[in-house]
């Protein structure tokens, strides 16, 4: 960002069921000035938006419906502006989830399935569900081919995960990164301006902050075009 550039309006959608505060703090740490709101009208003037998520997918979908956010989020996704969705925020982008009854936003083709239980890892330990902790992430593409949200992050970096369900996109090409937990787990989805991470970048140390920094850079580009 140059000194004369306009500071982007970044909106963090508060569904009251998410760790919005952690996302807000991470954005502040990288120099953004986020607006945390439950008012979908804020999306109309936003340069970029974050949909955080913690908890159950039905709780998030119910909150989005009650707050009249469903259509505004879809419109925002269609606007081409950066939209970052985290954890359950990623899962509700899909058409359906084994976790709940309610349909998802349907912005990404595919569904969300329970991580299989009862496997053991290479140390002979039970692989517990939820998948909780730091796991190694492999990006599908090399640095040069990658979605700009994931620039500057070394292959094999560790990110922090907490989830019991995994996203299964219909289009393999939309899997931007993956990790292994007995089965392959989709760690990130990228469909142009709509990017989601299964891990929590706001809890993944320096590599996580790099994602928020990339997001801020994209938001600045949007704001100044």
């Amino acid at each position: 960002m140059t000194e004369n550039s306009k500071k982007p309006r970044i909106v963090v959608l508060n569904t009251r069921a998410a760790n919005v505060h952690s996302v807000e703090k991470a954005l502040r740490k990288v120099g953004a000035d986020p607006i945390v709101t439950s008012d979908p009208a804020e999306l109309e003037t936003a340069d970029a938006a974050v949909l955080p998520g913690v908890g159950a997918s039905d709780a998030v979908m119910t909150a989005l419906k009650n707050l009249d956010m469903l259509e505004p989020i879809k419109e925002f996704a269609a606007s081409g502006k950066p939209l970052l969705c985290v954890c359950v925020g990623l899962q509700v982008l899909f058409e359906s989830s084994e976790e709940g009854e309610l349909p998802g936003l349907g912005l990404v083709d595919g569904n969300v399935q329970l991580i299989p239980n009862g496997m053991t890892d290479e140390l002979g330990s039970a692989m517990k569900v939820p998948h909780m902790g730091w796991n190694e992430v492999q990006f599908t593409d090399d640095e040069t081919e990658r979605n700009p949200m994931f620039k500057g992050i070394p292959q094999g970096s560790h990110f922090y995960f907490v989830h019991s369900y995994r996203c299964v996109p219909d289009q393999q090409a939309e899997i931007a990164a993956s990790t292994n937990y007995g089965v392959e787990i989709c760690a990130a989805v990228a469909r142009g301006n709509v990017v989601g991470t299964q891990f929590h970048p706001e809890k993944s140390g320096d590599v996580g902050l790099q994602i928020y920094k990339n997001f801020l850079d994209l938001a600045s580009t949007t704001a100044n075009n």
Binding site: H21, A26, A126, M132, G133, W134, Y181, K203, G205
Partner: protein, 268 residues
Amino acid sequence: MLTRRVIPCLDVDNGRVVKGVSFVDIRDAGDPAELAALYNAEGADELVFLDITASSDARNTMIDVVEKVSSEVFIPLTVGGGIRSVDNMRQMLEAGADKVAVNSAAVTNPQLIEDCAKEFGAQCVVLAMDVKRVEDPIIRNFDEYGSVPSEAIFQIVTHGGRRPTAFEAVKWARFATDLGAGELLVTSMDADGQKTGYDNELLSVISDAITVPVIASGGAGELDHFYDALTVGKADAVLAASLFHFGELRVSEVKSHLAERGIPVREV
């Protein structure tokens, strides 16, 4: 592969970090945010803050600590100590904690675990259990939670180990996870402060009995103790306080040692 976590624990009294041996002889040793940043730089995978402030009107001091640390350090934070209600838990989560540990209040009122899990999700609720080996236990609860290994009699204690309860540790662990505890922080009061190693027998019977992650606590004194807790004790994470706090071992040393012995750890 999912890495095993190394977790420094910081005991906080009136906004300052302290730690003593077996909960007595406490020494003041620093600013929580600075220590958190140091541990983060050394590769800590998570931090636990335990509020040991006696008076409940000092609770807001802890909220400030969590607020400050979570604005500077971007790894998972667990906060415990004196959490008695859903509202207490909400305050900590809103201040920036990712998980909240309940201990004595859950023993008095197990419903608290279920209420918190329903409100915030099981992933936010850590059951901290303080355990003592006893020869002649008075165990009367949770018969429907099955048998316990006869050679291992573990009793839940509260109030820093001073108050015995009628709860047996393995059954309590099963009961609490059924209610919605998403992780267990298991402290051996016999091993705590002794530096002779974790109680791996305790850890492994608990790990075998439940399906949520177990954090080993109490007794670490040397590098192999961490390895043993993760292998013999089947723990998912290892926690230590004074050892790190007084610089006897560094977080980075523990992680290098574990990596050398074939345990997957996160490199920083």
